[in-house]
């Protein structure tokens, strides 16, 4: 493992560790309002200041990081499993199944990602509880983000279908689901693993975009998207630099994921 990948892993572990310790580091929670210190700058009481209704920004960053860092991998796992099921099965069955499945993925892929997200998000009720909004946002990412991975998996499963060991297994009488689960799926693991890692930063960035556009996680629940929405009220870049902390943190985490997965991308391609 290269030095950069080790550093990136350490950064991810540190950020994840800090966010998991949010209850200890910021016991007051993300929703408590300090009305007497609303929209204040950094101080010993509030390391990153407070937002316009007096909530501690440091606490919100920690809890928001926890939500984004826990749920983006969960959404990535869901999308990878869906891709494995749709793409893997279509590639394994081949013929009309593969063509049909790929036509559906092409239909999804022909639509710009953000358009697809806001369209599907708008189909669901917007006026929901914060917890439901978190679940809806990340579930939607997981349920819609499988298409490009399915394409790769369909091609990989297609090449495995005609491989010698699968032919041998078939000749030995292994058929159907057993052949797929025991002989094909385990060989798709490297591609699945790569697709999982590639999806995480993509979902983190998508959630951030949705949050800034007001279609992501609902208040008062923090996420990187809702925290970045604060930048909308800035007058100049240098006036309140502490408001850029969520952005810096997000960029660092996404960069770290990119470095960690740099090898995985080659597998996925």
């Amino acid at each position: 493992m290269s030095v950069w990948r080790r550093v990136a892993c350490a950064v991810l572990l540190l950020v994840a560790g800090l966010s998991l310790a949010a209850n200890v580091l910021a016991p007051a929670g993300y929703a408590k309002q300090y009305r007497e210190a609303a929209d204040s700058g950094p101080s010993s009481a509030h390391w990153l200041g407070t937002d316009e209704i007096g909530r501690d920004r440091f606490a919100r960053v920690l809890y928001g990081t926890r939500i984004s860092l826990l749920l983006a991998p969960a959404a990535a796992l869901l999308s990878t499993l869906m891709a494995a099921l749709v793409g893997g099965l279509a590639g394994y069955l081949g013929g009309g199944w593969a063509r049909g499945a790929m036509a559906i993925t092409d239909l999804f892929l022909s639509l710009p990602w953000l358009f697809l997200l806001i369209t599907v998000r708008a189909l669901m009720p917007l006026n929901v509880s914060p917890l439901v909004s978190v679940l809806v946002t990340f579930l939607m990412l997981g349920l819609l983000g499988w298409t490009s991975a399915a394409r790769v998996l369909c091609a990989s499963a297609g090449s495995l279908r005609d491989s010698d060991f699968v032919r041998q297994a078939r000749a030995s009488g292994v058929r159907g689901a057993r052949l797929f689960w025991i002989h094909v799926m385990p060989n798709l693991k490297p591609v699945l693993y790569a697709q999982f890692w590639i999806s995480i930063p993509a979902f983190i960035l998508s959630e951030a975009n949705l949050g800034i556009l007001g279609l992501g996680v609902a208040e008062p629940m923090p996420s990187w998207g809702s925290l970045l929405k604060e930048l909308e009220g800035l007058v100049s870049v240098g006036s309140e630099p502490w408001k850029f902390v969520p952005l810096i943190l997000l960029a660092v985490v996404v960069t770290s994921f990119q470095i960690v997965m740099s090898k995985q991308e080659e597998v996925a391609a």
Partner: protein
């Protein structure tokens, strides 16, 4: 062969429009809240009017009928009326499309100018520090959400087209640079260099023709990226284009408007990728 390819793309676009339309109609029909209409709560309406409203909703219960009815109207140029804005969807699209096309067009031009300039110079110069610097710049931009770049463009008073260019540049650059690096590592380039050909000649005579079809395909994909980037840029920069319209429709749950925009955008992106594929096919044919 070329005719077949064009026909295949034409059929794909038509099929996408029809299937996408049916899917959109089904999604609109099953979306929570479709059965209710705020107008039914209007105290000024008498019971007969409310009954008529309910009746019109009931008629839309059958998805297939709802879809064919919408399709029939669409062929006549009637795309329905926006619930939130109270205007015909066709008028809204006609008014807003030129701005988005201009924004996306300039954004693509700027992005591709930067992509080609940086990728070609990095491939030509082959200085590791220069390559690393351009990779860091594109990598940094890749890690910033598109909506944040749009917000920063407002703060720095940067035109929206430049924001779109900054959003799509890192994605284009990464692939273009990899394509050029791969082309440079091919044996015929090593031979050309050993024969003493100048770097400029190698680049334009032996590298660019090899990567041109793939770059064209990338160009087609970047149209889709640019249209996607138009949503945050127009929404956050206050530009009245189709992206802003889609965002407003999403916030207001104006599903008929959103579905029409979605189908239109899908067709535009399909047209762009299909055109890139056909031109790439022609180029490959000439090369062969």
């Amino acid at each position: 062969m070329l005719g077949q390819r064009i026909a295949r793309h034409g059929l794909t676009i038509l099929a996408t429009a029809l299937v996408g339309g049916l899917l959109a109609a089904a999604l609109v029909r099953f979306a929570p809240g479709f059965d209710t209409d705020e107008a039914q709560l209007d105290p000024h309406l008498n019971s007969a009017s409310i009954q008529a409203l309910r009746q019109s909703r009931m008629e839309q219960n059958n998805i297939v009928r709802f879809y064919f009815h919408s399709l029939q109207r669409a062929f006549k140029g009637d795309l329905g009326t926006s619930i939130s804005l109270g205007q015909p969807v066709s008028t809204l699209l006609r008014d807003r499309t030129p701005l988005t096309l201009r924004l996306v067009g300039i954004g693509l031009l700027l992005s591709w100018a930067a992509t080609l300039a940086l990728a070609l110079s990095a491939a030509w110069l082959r200085v590791s520090a220069y390559d690393a610097l351009s990779t860091i710049i594109s990598g940094t931009l890749l890690c910033i959400p598109a909506a944040v770049l749009a917000l920063l463009s407002v703060l720095w008073n940067v035109p929206g087209a430049l924001a779109i260019a900054l959003i799509i540049f890192p994605r284009d650059y990464r692939y273009a640079r990899n394509l050029l690096a791969k082309a440079y590592s091919q044996p015929h380039i090593v031979t050309a260099r050993a024969k003493g050909l100048s770097e400029l000649r190698i680049l334009f005579w032996h590298v660019v023709p090899v990567v041109a079809p793939q770059l064209l395909a990338l160009g087609g994909v970047s149209v889709s990226l640019a249209i996607g980037a138009a949503i945050p840029v127009e929404a956050l920069c206050g530009l009245a284009g189709v992206g802003q319209l889609a965002w407003q429709a999403a916030l207001a749950r104006d599903l008929p408007l959103l579905m029409n925009i979605t189908i239109m955008v899908t067709l535009v992106t399909l047209l762009a990728t299909s055109s890139a594929d056909v031109i790439g096919h022609v180029l490959r044919g000439q090369e062969a």
